[in-house]
Amino acid sequence: MFFPISGADISPIYLVVVGFLIGIMGGFFGVGGSFIAGPALRLVGLNWNFAVGTDLAHIVGKSVVAVRQHRAFGNVDLKLGLIMAIGTIAGAEVGAQLIQVFKRAGNVNVVVSVVSIVVYLSISAFMLWESWKTLILQKKRLPQGKVKGVKSKEDHSAFGPVTRAIQRLKIWPMVSLPTSGIKEISLWLILLVAFVGGFFSGFLGGGAGYIRMPSMVYVLGIPTHLAVGTDLFEIIISASYGTFSHAVKGNVDILIALVMHTGAAIGAQIGAICTQYFAGPKIRLAFVPLPLIGAAIVIYTLFTGHKL
């Protein structure tokens, strides 16, 4: 199928299958899957600027659906989401402008490829470390019969003391987030976390939930279930802005995004149901190879210049 906006010739079946797999991942792991979508689009010959912009458009659709579900469970802190949207939009714009700089310099594909490889490998390493540590901790705790039932579902973090120290920083203005259970936190801290996430979103595409979500939990101290819902709500605003910004710059092929999303819509449902059969750190451990696959695809296209 020929896509006139990007001038790419891509099989719609390939796009639907990629969308379907990303949808399953979204429903199962709670991530946007840009670390697979970007490289997968790149693999069929789409330039990075189009891969980034088109993936952002695709993320908007997925987030709208996910937020509707999370809102029903009360997992969205609207105040936090709206504050974060400001920082994310600023970061996304800086990221998108940087893409333009590299596009004009003619080395956008190389630079984004290298940055994405570093980010994907870091995510895999962190997730491997975190889930492995949690599994070992659980093994140690369970035989003593101390952590069972409801208590086993509580959030335990090795970063707890660091998070509390960050929350004590008094950099005016301070804001309270009653929905998230935070009495006082610096506004600048929230904006900084949002800006970093937005930057990676604008530069590498996707919602950058792989950076923002852990930052919300470990740096801001937001409970995990609220962090997931609020992050998705905030992604709708920031990804819509990112899509608009990239579309104006000529980096969005909305037809590709629409075709991909037809697969993602059904995949997300299957992924969500699959979570009933698996749980906890094992899901996070299963997630580890996925960014590695993304990194492998980018390395392959970077060094061989081949496409499917």
């Binding site: 906006i5 458009a57 659709g61 997925k62 659906v65 509707r68 899509t243 579309a247 909305i254 999303h261």
Partner: protein, 80 residues
């Protein structure tokens, strides 16, 4: 438990088949005709194209979610 899993998988397989047919029809009826118009819009009116792109994405997301939910509910009810 196994029976329920098998029933869920069967419901999904049927949903997937019906959904695939709907998607193919959607490709031919909607995307095929939209392609030329969107291309023209993208090359001549970037700001309108950007707004239309977001609206199309959100619209499709809401419609597809409703379609898949309805399909699944309908198939599960029939399977019982």
């Amino acid at each position: 438990m196994k029976k329920e899993t098998a029933r869920t998988l069967r419901a999904f397989a049927i949903e997937l088949a019906i959904y695939a047919l709907l998607v193919v029809a959607y490709f031919f009826l909607v995307l095929h005709f939209l392609g030329a118009w969107l291309y023209q819009l993208e090359s001549q009116h970037r700001y309108i194209y950007a707004s239309v792109a977001i609206l199309l994405m959100i619209g499709q997301a809401v419609v597809l979610q409703n379609v898949t939910t309805l399909l699944l509910r309908f198939i599960r009810r029939r399977a019982r």
